[in-house]
């Protein structure tokens, strides 16, 4: 107790001269750590332990049905190599991501460009309307889409029949159309991406456009040469998040197919497999192993994106 008091009494001046000697670099670093500290504390307290726990699970036979947990070495990982369904599910996830990632970038980009256009009247209205679907809670959204895409009574097929397509697809029951149906639903969730792109577009200095005008550049050239490079950091952000999100794609196919991934395995996404093993069959050990596999894959993709981003993402601050 008394020793603590003693340090408190110690005049700060004695420390000060040493600090002055610190180089600007060291000072900057110290500030960096100070600003970083909330995340580091939070990571240590809230996030790290569950992540490490889940990694430990992968080496155990943790199962809700049994009272004890045993270490089983690499058995779960061996099982993973011999699980054809896991491979199929991974294939479905990657195949879907291959279509969904470009759509998830281009659609919001187009919408943001439209909302950013000087020639658009009534912007606040359109902004709100374009963002509106994002506010619909996911489960309500699925409810609406199931109704909208019902092969018999859904609006979409009524419209298609009205347009002369006699036999429109039965979206959720057709192997070739179910992923497209999920893409349609996904387009409804691009509000955030659109908004981040729009926010960044509006920060592009008008001088740049004016200069281009003087050079007689067309609207499209300006978008390609000025807007795109300047918003590339945000496109990159959305790209990374969309890849991560798609590796975890779960809720919509799970509810829409009532957990079956039907028809066949065409909508059996990797995280549905994970979820079923962990929560339906209570095999937490194997579930965690599946989770770590998709984690490693998504992390690799993220690293690849980060490495390649140096070539195409342009940061004004020069980093």
């Amino acid at each position: 107790m008394s020793s603590v008091d003693a340090t408190r009494v110690m005049p700060p001046q004695e420390v000060a001269p040493q600090r002055k000697k610190a180089t600007l670099e060291q000072q900057q670093r110290r500030w960096g750590w100070i600003f970083l500290s909330p995340w580091i504390i939070g990571f240590v307290v809230f996030t790290a332990a569950p992540i490490i726990a889940s990694l430990i699970f992968t080496f155990t036979d943790f199962n809700l049905g049994q009272s004890e947990i045993n270490f089983v070495g690499l058995k779960n990982w061996e099982r993973l190599l011999n699980d054809p369904l896991a491979l199929t599910a991974l294939g479905v996830t990657l195949k879907f991501a291959l279509i969904a990632v470009p759509v998830g970038i281009l659609v919001p980009l187009g919408m943001a460009a439209l909302l950013n256009s000087k020639a658009l009247a009534g912007k606040p209205l359109w902004r709100t309307l374009f963002y509106l679907p994002y506010m619909v809670p996911a489960v309500s959204a699925i409810f609406v889409w199931q109704s909208f895409l019902n092969g018999q009574t859904g609006w979409l097929n009524r419209i298609l029949r009205g347009l002369g397509i006699a036999d429109p697809p039965n979206w959720f029951q057709d192997e070739t159309w179910i992923l497209q149906a999920f893409i349609l639903i996904g387009v409804w969730g691009v509000g955030n991406a659109m908004l981040t792109m729009l926010a960044t577009m509006q920060g592009v200095p008008t001088e740049l456009y004016e200069a281009a005008d003087v050079d007689g550049a067309s609207g499209f050239t300006k978008f390609l040469r000025i807007t795109l490079p300047l918003i590339s950091p945000v496109i990159f952000y959305n790209l990374v998040l969309s890849v991560i999100g798609l590796m975890q794609y779960f809720e919509i196919p799970y509810i829409a197919t009532r957990g079956t991934g039907h028809p066949g395995t065409s909508a059996y996404f990797f995280n549905m497999h994970l979820y079923k093993e962990a929560f339906t069959f209570f095999d937490m050990g194997y579930g965690a192993t599946l989770a770590w596999l998709i984690f490693i894959i998504a992390l690799l993709l993220t690293v690849i994106l980060f490495v390649t981003s140096r070539r195409w993402v342009y940061y004004t601050s020069g980093d």
Binding site: L64, G65, N150, Q152, Q173, F279, T280, F281, F282
Partner: protein
């Protein structure tokens, strides 16, 4: 700006402190009751359950009963799993059916020692019903609470319109065809009249030449909200799993049953396929309550969900059709409350359990649509249902149906190795059967595949 920043921070911290609710001191033993793995999360049910808890807590000073209702049913299993795996399991779970219990087979406490020490009287129940709750080791994992025999719900208005007689309300009674001939009330007869009760937009029924299966306005028959094993078992009960050899065999009668269902959906069209079933026009999965399904075969708990029927049509009950063997077999759901083993206070939990199984039955049974397993409580249940549906429903059908339930190993949710996964595989098959992909399958080959799949699943364990 700096001030604002500090102010926001201060406000946020203050708000945090306010959120930390001071934990109240507890001197009673706390028993938690988890609801959501079966019925029990509808608005009216929640109200009744809360009242039961209140009354229990007021009735004594030793135990504080706390109820946790997983209000959104789809998430209830995840929630329960998390509670158990996360180290905060509830003491009592229920109502939960046989199948739901099988999923969590290793979690339940053996009640036999508590029954013995408290002298709880099991003799009032049908012994077959009690045995449904015994496992292979002879442990008693539950005490009967509610029984739900399968029943044919029918819509009299649709029969009138078609000029057909109603299905029989007595076991052994024949069905009278419009021309006056009497035929046995079996699945063949049911299919025949169901076709007449299936009508397209032009008014053609499913027996007619120009019937358009793409514009069906009314269906004849459905197993409402039923899993395939319940359908199979109603059509013919069988024991499909041999524990000694750990083998699964899809019996011939279930192959016939599956073919019957496939024809019903895809050839005769009197049973709604997945697309029709999901559409709003047919009640978003609840076709019978939309008033456009003539007959629904489903357990008695379905009375839960007829309070909001379109047009409030005056439905009634008939007996289930005879099975393939010409006898009556009624697939009967059985729900109860279960205690978790490893609970901190088994005696207190058992006290609560007894309260739920005895004193609370008059309040809980009607709200769950649960026909009391305790014979002395059955009339009160019927009275309360008559108050809700006041046009005179023939409840005697339900009472009579109790005599035809299937023994444990023939039960439609009888346990087997790797129950959860096997059930999941059957459900995937059912989904396929009712959706477009099922239309062109070879039923026999598909069942061979299913059998191989389930066999692999039971061997896995």
């Amino acid at each position: 700006m700096q001030k604002k920043f500090v102010l926001v921070a201060a406000l946020a911290i203050l708000a945090l402190v306010l959120v930390v609710a001071p934990a109240a001191a507890q001197d009673k033993v706390t028993v938690t009751w988890f609801v959501g793995l079966g019925t029990g999360s509808n608005a009216e049910q929640i109200e009744v359950q809360n009242k039961v808890v209140e009354e229990f807590n007021a009735s004594q000073n030793e135990i504080e009963l706390v109820i946790s209702i997983a209000s959104a049913n789809e998430a209830a299993d995840d929630l329960f799993t998390t509670l158990v795996a996360g180290g905060t399991p509830p003491d009592i779970v229920g109502p939960i059916g046989v199948g739901g219990s099988n999923r969590y087979a290793d979690l339940w406490a053996d009640l036999q020692p508590l029954v013995d020490s408290t002298g709880y009287d099991l003799s009032v129940f049908d012994p077959a019903l009690v045995d449904l709750y015994r496992n292979a080791e002879g442990q008693l994992l539950g005490i009967p609470f509610a029984v739900f025999p399968s029943i044919t719900y029918y819509n009299p208005g649709l029969f009138d319109e078609a000029g057909l007689n109603y299905p029989p309300q007595e076991f052994g009674a024949p069905y009278v065809m419009p021309d006056g001939t009497e035929v046995p009330w079996n699945y063949e007869t049911a299919a025949e009249i169901a076709k007449i009760l299936t009508v397209d937009a032009n008014g053609n029924d499913a027996t007619m030449e120009g019937f358009d299966p793409a514009s069906i306005q009314q269906f004849g028959l459905n197993f409402q909200w039923a899993r395939l094993r319940l359908m199979w078992t109603n059509i013919q009960p069988e024991d499909w799993y041999d524990e000694a050899s750990n083998t699964v065999t899809i019996p011939e009668s279930w192959r016939t049953a599956t073919q019957w269902i496939h024809d019903a959906v895809w050839t005769s069209h009197f049973m709604p396929n997945a697309t029709y079933d999901a559409s709003e026009a047919f009640g978003s999965g609840n076709a019978y309550s939309s008033g456009k399904l003539a007959m629904a075969i489903t357990p008695l708990w379905y009375t839960c969900c007829l309070g909001n029927s379109v047009g409030n049509f005056e439905w009634d009950l008939a007996v289930v059709p005879q099975s393939l063997d010409g006898e009556y077999h009624v697939a009967t759901d059985a729900d109860t409350f279960r205690m978790l083993k490893d609970g901190a206070n088994p005696e207190a939990a058992f006290t609560v359990l007894q309260y739920l199984l005895n004193e609370a039955v008059p309040s809980l049974a009607p709200t769950y649509g649960a026909f009391p397993a305790r014979p002395s409580a059955q009339q009160a249940w019927i009275d309360s249902k008559n108050a809700q549906f006041d046009w005179g429903i023939n409840w005697q059908v339900a009472v009579d149906s109790l005599a035809y339930n299937n023994p444990g190993n023939m039960h439609h949710e009888s346990n087997m190795a790797n129950y959860g996964k096997a059930t999941d595989a059957v459900f995937a098959f059912q989904t396929m059967l009712f959706s477009d992909a099922g239309q062109s399958i070879d039923v026999g080959a598909a069942l061979d595949e299913l059998q191989a799949e389930v066999q692999a699943i039971v061997e896995e364990s």
